[in-house]
């Protein structure tokens, strides 16, 4: 089928002016083709004998499909130019709908049409009909599920939403300046301001209020975040030995606790795992530029706060030790800074002091990962095929499956373990 115009992709043979056995000469009109725009005569570019007509009258075939085979005539050596361009076979029979493959849902043609017009993928729709057939009602339900908005959607400007995230102000806690208006940046700033004014008296808040706040946040985390959990046991022999050696040579206030190494290793590993370090905002993950490590601190009167160590990956173990002490002090005295509330990009919880072996924590929204460390305890451990007693710690990761997968989490935990084998590098 020759291309007979710029917009032609297929054509219908209207008439054959030659038949098998006929001799044709270059330039002869051999057929008439309907291009939708007009009936066009098809000329032949070589001389020879028609040995077969491949496309019968009435058939519609794509451009490039051989129409007939020419045998080179006496003294002729060429054959038709399209002969070696094997196009698809001509469609001469009425189109028959093939049976559905196994994964395709059964549905009647009107239902199929309804789904197609509504942009519903049938394979995603539960079929409630006979033999799992997808019914019209099933498609309607799928459409309804798709279009219903989450209840209580807040009218807030995009910039105000961004600002709320940055300042750690829960959007649900905001209200517009005037009723029936959207929440703007000024409302967010005002809320942050009110909170800052309240902050110094946070420690005197009654435990019940804090309990409620933690409850709301953790409930939201459990409701919204699809957690996955990983754990690994890490041999801290080298690290503990290094600490002992280090602490011999420094004044008492500068002595390090194992926690400093655990934080440093976590921060370094987080920097190389961007999918675990950042925030989930507006249905998408925004990786953070730096690692701001939240550290869970249990309060003496009950409750929990997570002050933040900024740029933890860039600090030495000694600096981290000092920062950790300062953070605990801030939490316990109620002198938290605004960054303590919002800046954290990943959180570490260390319940080792309480003697538990491992902790499978709840992620602190909008963060996407939480690392837990249990107590460091001496236990039998095989090293190079020999059983010995080693200081071991169980590290766990709770991570948001929307932002990362298990393999990422596994690499992250392995990296923490590896880093802890070279404490001098920390």
């Amino acid at each position: 089928m020759p291309a007979l115009g710029a917009d032609m992709t297929e054509g219908t043979v209207l008439e054959w002016l030659v038949k098998a056995g006929d001799t044709v000469r270059k330039g002869d009109i051999v057929a008439v083709v309907d291009t939708d725009k007009a009936a066009i005569e098809v000329e032949c570019f070589t001389s020879g004998t028609v040995s077969a007509v491949l496309v019968p009258v009435g058939s519609r075939v794509p451009v490039g499909t051989p129409l007939a085979v020419l045998a080179a005539g006496p003294g002729m050596t060429e054959v038709g130019p399209t002969q070696d361009e094997r196009g698809p076979a001509p469609e001469t029979v009425p189109h028959v709908e093939p049976g559905p493959p196994a994964e395709v849902r059964l549905a009647t043609p009107p239902t199929r049409k309804f789904a197609a017009e509504s942009g519903v993928d049938l394979t995603t729709v539960h079929g409630s009909g006979r033999d799992g057939r997808v019914t019209h009602a099933d498609v309607a339900r799928a459409i309804a599920a798709r279009t219903s908005l989450p209840a209580g959607r807040v009218r807030i400007s995009p910039y105000a939403r961004k600002l709320a995230t940055e300042l750690g102000v829960a959007v649900s806690s905001l209200s517009p300046t005037q009723a029936r208006r959207a929440i703007h940046a000024r409302d967010v700033r005002a809320a942050a301001q009110r909170r800052a004014e309240r902050a110094p008296v946070r420690h005197s808040q009654d435990a019940e209020a804090m309990r409620r706040a933690i409850g709301a946040l953790m409930a939201r985390a459990k409701r919204e975040i699809p957690h996955y959990y990983l754990s690994t046991t890490i041999d801290l022999h080298t690290a503990v030995e290094w600490l002992r050696e280090h602490n011999l040579h420094v004044p008492i206030p500068e002595r390090l606790l194992p926690a400093a190494l655990l934080l440093k290793a976590t921060a370094l590993a987080a920097r190389r795992a961007p999918q675990l370090n950042g925030h989930w905002v507006d249905d998408s993950f925004r990786p953070a530029d730096s690692v701001h490590l939240g550290t869970a601190v249990a309060l003496r009167g009950g409750g929990l706060l997570t002050p933040v160590i900024l740029d933890a990956a860039d600090r030495s173990a000694s600096e981290l030790m000092a920062e950790l002490r300062a953070a605990v002090t801030r939490a316990r005295t109620g002198a938290l800074r605004s960054t303590d509330l919002t800046a954290g990009t990943i959180t570490v919880t260390n319940l080792g002091d309480n003697g538990v072996e491992s902790v499978h924590g709840v992620i602190y929204p909008p963060q996407v990962a939480l690392v837990g460390f249990g107590a460091i305890t001496s236990r039998p451990w095989a090293v190079d095929g020999l059983l010995g007693v080693r200081p071991l710690v169980t590290a766990t990761l709770s991570a948001d499956h929307r932002a990362s997968d298990g393999a990422t989490g596994a690499r992250f935990l392995s990296r923490i373990a590896a880093l802890l084998q070279q404490p001098e590098e920390l």
């Binding site: 400007s157 995009p158 910039y159 939403r161 961004k162 703007h184 940046a185």
Partner: protein
């Protein structure tokens, strides 16, 4: 003190003096002195070869400008008003804008086309178009709109040196405006937008004839404690997108003032780009102040109502600031 008209003329004289390849042609640019008297006196100064009166044949003389540019000249073509440019649209769009691409980079067209645009002078429907946004739709063209004395004086020379076609839109209400122009004012860049008034609360984007409206509105807003930033686009294609986005990142609110009709306009393009690239900076819906979607009527009160006015800009900014 100098007028916008005199500043433009100084720019033309500059080009004719400093580059012998330049010449000015158009309807009544010579003997008459230019429909808006921009080229008054240039015929006497440079002679009829370089200040050429043409017949009323927009397509022919704009196309001749293209051909002369291909032939090594640096023509400056004046089309009396933007409405007449429609008679040369074939040459502008099918030749000037496309030859470079269509020839695989062989044929650039260093042509400058000047024309008057805009309404506000009770000239009725066929002499009041603002079609610069339309032209800004076309890849291959560079569209500039001088709004100040400096730009009227300095954009032309930069445009003449550009290797590609530049369309320069002069708003008809500006010719008589006067202002200070430094004696040593010279060429200016035609790549960047400029902040004409810094502010923190809302960005007013304007260009050409609407810049004055925006600045006056900003003044009025300041009296009521709203600190508006005014950004003069200067170049409508290619748009200085970073300048727009930077301003939005500071003010978080946007009012676009455009004398073009709203539908499919330059203001629509700016709003779309801000929505695409700075949505999370926006603290209020984007506001647009455009010309009403009617052919511009003659009667003064009707024309006034059709065009973007200071009060409209102030009201839009107040809505944005909330």
């Amino acid at each position: 003190m100098t007028t916008y008209r005199e500043a433009l003329r100084a720019g033309l004289r500059d080009a004719l003096e400093h580059d012998e390849r330049t010449f000015l042609m158009g309807e009544d640019v010579g003997r008459y002195g230019g429909c808006f008297a921009v080229s008054l006196g240039l015929l006497e100064e440079f002679g009829p070869d370089r200040v050429r009166d043409t017949p009323l044949s927009e397509s022919a003389f704009v196309g001749a400008g293209i051909g002369a540019a291909l032939g090594g000249m640096r023509p400056i073509v004046e089309i009396m008003t933007v409405n007449f440019s429609l008679l040369a649209l074939d040459q502008i769009l099918n030749n000037a804008a496309t030859l470079l691409h269509m020839s695989g980079g062989q044929l650039n067209v260093p042509l400058v086309i000047r024309m008057t645009t805009g309404a506000g002078r009770q000239l009725a429907a066929q002499h009041s178009h603002s079609l610069e946004g339309w032209y800004a739709h076309i890849p291959g063209l560079r569209i500039v709109a001088p709004a100040t004395m400096e730009d009227a004086r300095g954009m032309l020379w930069t445009a003449v040196q550009d290797p590609d076609p530049v369309l320069l839109f002069e708003h008809g209400t500006l010719y008589n405006v006067s202002g200070e122009l430094a004696p040593d004012a010279g060429a200016v860049d035609i790549d960047h937008a400029v902040i004409r008034r810094p502010g923190t609360d809302v960005t007013l984007i304007a260009y050409g004839g609407t810049l004055r409206t925006a600045l006056d509105a900003a003044g009025e807003l300041a009296d009521s404690g709203v600190d508006a930033e005014v950004l003069d686009l200067r170049t409508l294609r290619p748009l200085d997108e970073p300048a727009i986005l930077d301003s939005i990142a500071r003010t978080h609110r946007l009012v676009v003032v455009d004398e073009g009709w709203r539908s499919g306009s330059l203001s629509a393009e700016i709003a779309a780009r801000v929505a695409e690239k700075a949505l999370y900076e926006l603290d209020a819906p984007i506001e647009r102040v455009c010309t009403a979607e009617v052919p511009i009527p003659y009667a003064q009160q009707l024309e006034h109502a059709a065009l973007p006015q200071q009060a409209d800009v102030v009201a839009a900014a107040r809505r944005a600031v909330g």
